[in-house]
Amino acid sequence: MEDFAERAVDLDRVDGILEETRASHGSRKSRPIGPDDLIPLLQRIQDAYGYLPYPVLERVNERTSIPLSRMFGVITFYAQFYTEPHGRHTIRCCQGTACHVKGGKRIAETIANHLKVEEGGTTDDMRFTFETVACLGTCFLAPVIMVDDDYYGQLTPDRIERILEKYD
């Protein structure tokens, strides 16, 4: 935890995000932020900060009275939340059924070998975070990876290096 606290974090942004969340209740009148809103709220915070910094969560707790324990319960349950900074680019390597039968595991191994990171890890230069996902729902492209919002399909291991070169 000390680790998070030491990093300088812009706390003003989270106030804006809380406001936005309050306003996003559709045409239904604006109601105060409650535990129901926790997941969309955390998603917005992570979009803005790139991860979920501890001081920001403390601030959310002050402003909304959602207990930190509840936040951490949720954060640790869902695969998409992380409390550590991620790389500038996220590689998501699909491990779905279609990808599996078409060599998706080898694509993952190639990426891990090439970047010298384990699944879930971030390169030392913060360039890439490498994740595997259960299925990207683009099975016709198998085997497939996503780098940020770009899809790369029908992959062979030898194409990986060229693809990753494009991101710095």
Binding site: R70, K102, G137
Partner: protein, 642 residues
């Protein structure tokens, strides 16, 4: 965005007239899939079309329309030309000039971009022989090399019945005008103005619609429970947490025809008496999230969501919630927990959500495809809907066809179609003429259906009888090079990872099963492992809290049931017949076939391939990590696995 308010059915009709009148000058539409095909360059293609058409001075008469999934994803990027219905695949920006000149100006097809018959008579014959079946013809009817240009004549489409997907890939999902032009919201108008909620429920019940999320529970009955449940406040939830690996139907429907889902939700909400609705969609589907949000905003701006919809006095609105990466949230009680901002863990039922769901209020949860079926039922009536399908399963089913099949993509067939029709007539058979081994249906909750059942009419009940489930509709084709033990391990690893840990049978039982499967794949299987797997499977099935655990053993049980010999080969002979399990295989290069091109040498990550130009290559098996890269790149199939 400001839209005119649509206050009643007459306004809707007038709006539609206006849209259609506005299109009078347009003599042709160029439809470009901008969802799945985006991964293969559809965006550049669309820009190229727009630029060329402007340059040619055709912008007043030809419209470029960015659509949802057209269906035959294996030929992406796809372009469909209306009104001729010419379907072009693998289209590159450099093809645009020719398409504009030949098709848009002269009305003729560009043959080289059209579909080639799925296979020559020789190669499909081979595939059929190997499956032990007969008559697995490619189905497209044309001879080898012949091109089919009209979409409805292409084998992939000819054998489908696209009712729910009728407008998917035919309209721009980001414009409400496009949806209204093809009749969206007519069913909502009919339901809200001419029918009582009870009549709506009765119609859906009588049509025989069953939940498309997998379990197949009658939708109308479910609505009835929620309608009758005590309480003023009720909720409707659309389950778009399509987590099954190998399924993408819901993604395609949300991306391609979001208004159809919204309309289904309006009708469902009216039937059960809900004023608020949620769509719980996976965050892994950015395009679906974008399209559904846009569609909701447009519908709201037209007055089709909000207070007093279509002058009926009924009010309803929808909020989109994104999942955060937990497969178990597809289970309804876990989904509700997640919507409430909690860890997505299921709870015992009863009480069922129909009585006590979201925020403790009566809640009805339907899957995307189920809701997309609803407008058609209301508009065309129970009779027409019920005329399609089998005795117990009515209507059509959308399948996400993928894996080792020639034509992957989005497929809709009547309930009761056979696997052979789907895999061979529509899918064009197995890739590279390999033998069909099994189709995995229903994802991690489903099972592997072997070639013996290729001719079984598929509906909810028949699939259950052979140990699989219809599931949400993922259909992965597997060939002779797929190891069934490895597949079972793959699914168990998945469910094990996704098990929320609340109940012991699922948490511990799946772990044990993975351990056993892993040791079998590693060549350390023991006598009695198969029996132990079966025992554990039964225990996990019977005693798990929710559907995730109850169905998790299905992939193991079906593979043991139909492919026991493969398990035995791993355990007794330390052999992987499909050549997949790394610990049990060796790679060698056949010297006779090797052309010494050096490609394998280049891709070998551990540099154990030796050889030079004109000297046949060799693999030092001691250092080989069996990654298979060499086999992938070999142009002459000289790399052998044993």
């Amino acid at each position: 965005m400001a839209h005119r308010k649509i206050r009643n059915a007459a306004d809707l009709a007038a709006f539609r007239e206006e849209i259609l009148a506005g299109r009078k000058g347009i003599r042709s539409r160029v439809l470009i899939c901008m969802t799945g095909c985006r991964a293969l360059g559809a965006a550049e293609l669309s820009r190229a079309f727009s630029a060329k058409i402007r340059e040619a001075g055709l912008d007043g008469e030809i419209a470029v329309v960015e659509t949802g999934c057209i269906g035959q994803c294996s030929r992406a990027p796809l372009v469909l030309i209306e009104p001729q219905d010419y379907l072009y695949g693998n289209v590159k920006p450099k093809d645009v000039d020719e398409i504009v000149e030949t098709t848009l100006r002269a009305g003729k097809p560009v043959e080289r971009l059209c579909d080639v018959a799925a296979g020559s008579p020789a190669d499909t014959g081979g595939a059929a022989g190997k499956t032990g079946g007969s008559g697995s013809r490619s189905g497209s009817g044309s001879k080898n090399g012949q091109r089919t240009c009209t979409a409805s004549q292409v084998g992939f489409y000819k054998n489908q019945r696209r009712d729910v997907l009728a407008s998917c890939g035919r309209i721009d999902p980001k414009k409400i005008e496009e949806a209204v032009a093809v009749g969206s919201y007519l069913a909502a108008a009919k339901a809200l103005q001419d029918m009582s909620p009870e009549e709506v429920i009765e119609e859906v019940k009588a049509a025989g619609l069953r939940g498309r999320g997998g379990a197949g529970f009658p939708t109308g009955v479910k609505w009835g429970f929620c309608r009758r449940a005590a309480g003023e406040v009720k909720y409707l939830i659309c389950n778009a947490d399509e987590g099954d690996p190998g399924a993408f139907m819901d993604r395609a429907v949300l991306e391609g025809t979001p208004h159809q889902v919204i309309e289904g939700m309006i009708i469902a909400a009216y039937a059960i008496g809900a004023a608020a609705g949620y769509i719980y969609v996976r965050a892994e589907y950015p395009i679906a999230v974008e399209h559904i949000n846009l569609a909701i905003a447009e519908a709201r701006s037209c007055g089709l969501l909000g207070e007093d919809i279509l002058g009926s006095g009924f009010g309803f609105d929808i909020e989109v919630r994104m999942g955060a990466g937990a497969f178990v949230c597809g289970e309804e009680t876990a989904l509700i927990a997640s919507l409430e901002g909690r860890r997505g863990m299921p709870r015992p039922r009863p009480p069922f959500p129909a009585n006590s769901g979201f925020r403790g209020k009566p809640t009805n949860i339907n899957n995307v495809e189920t809701l997309a079926n609803v407008p058609g039922i209301i508009l065309n009536g129970r009779k027409k809907y019920g005329s399609v399908g089998t005795e117990g399963s009515k209507g059509t089913k959308i399948f996400a066809l993928a894996g080792k099949v020639r034509h992957t993509g989005l497929v809709e067939v009547p309930m009761g179609a056979t696997l052979r029709q789907i895999v061979f007539s529509i899918g064009g058979g197995v890739q590279k003429d390999k033998a069909f081994k099994a189709a995995q249906m229903g994802g991690p909750s489903g099972g592997c259906v072997p070639a013996d059942y290729l001719d079984l009419p598929i509906d909810y009940d028949s699939v259950k009888q052979i140990g699989a489930i219809m599931g949400s509709g993922g259909l992965i084709v597997m060939d002779e090079e797929t190891c069934m033990v490895d597949v079972a391990r793959f699914f168990l690893e998945f469910t094990q990872k996704e098990s929320c840990g609340k109940c012991v049978p699922c948490r511990v039982g799946t772990r044990h099963m993975v351990d056993i499967l892993t040791r079998i794949c590693n060549g350390e299987g023991r006598e009695g492992d198969i029996e132990e797997l079966e025992d554990l499977a039964q225990a996990v099935q019977k005693s798990s809290l929710c559907g995730l655990g109850q169905t998790a053993p299905n992939p193991v049980l079906t593979t043991i049931r139909y492919f026991r010999d493969e398990y035995e080969a791993h355990i007794k002979e330390r052999r992987c017949p499909a050549g997949v399990c790394k610990a049990l295989i060796t790679y060698t290069i056949d010297k006779e076939t090797c052309i010494a091109c050096g490609r394998c040498r280049k891709v070998c990550p551990v540099d154990v391939i030796s050889g030079e130009k004109k000297v046949p290559h060799e693999i030092d098996t001691a250092g080989c990590i069996r990654c298979g890269n060499c086999r992938d790149v070999c142009p002459v199939d000289a790399v052998k696995v044993s």
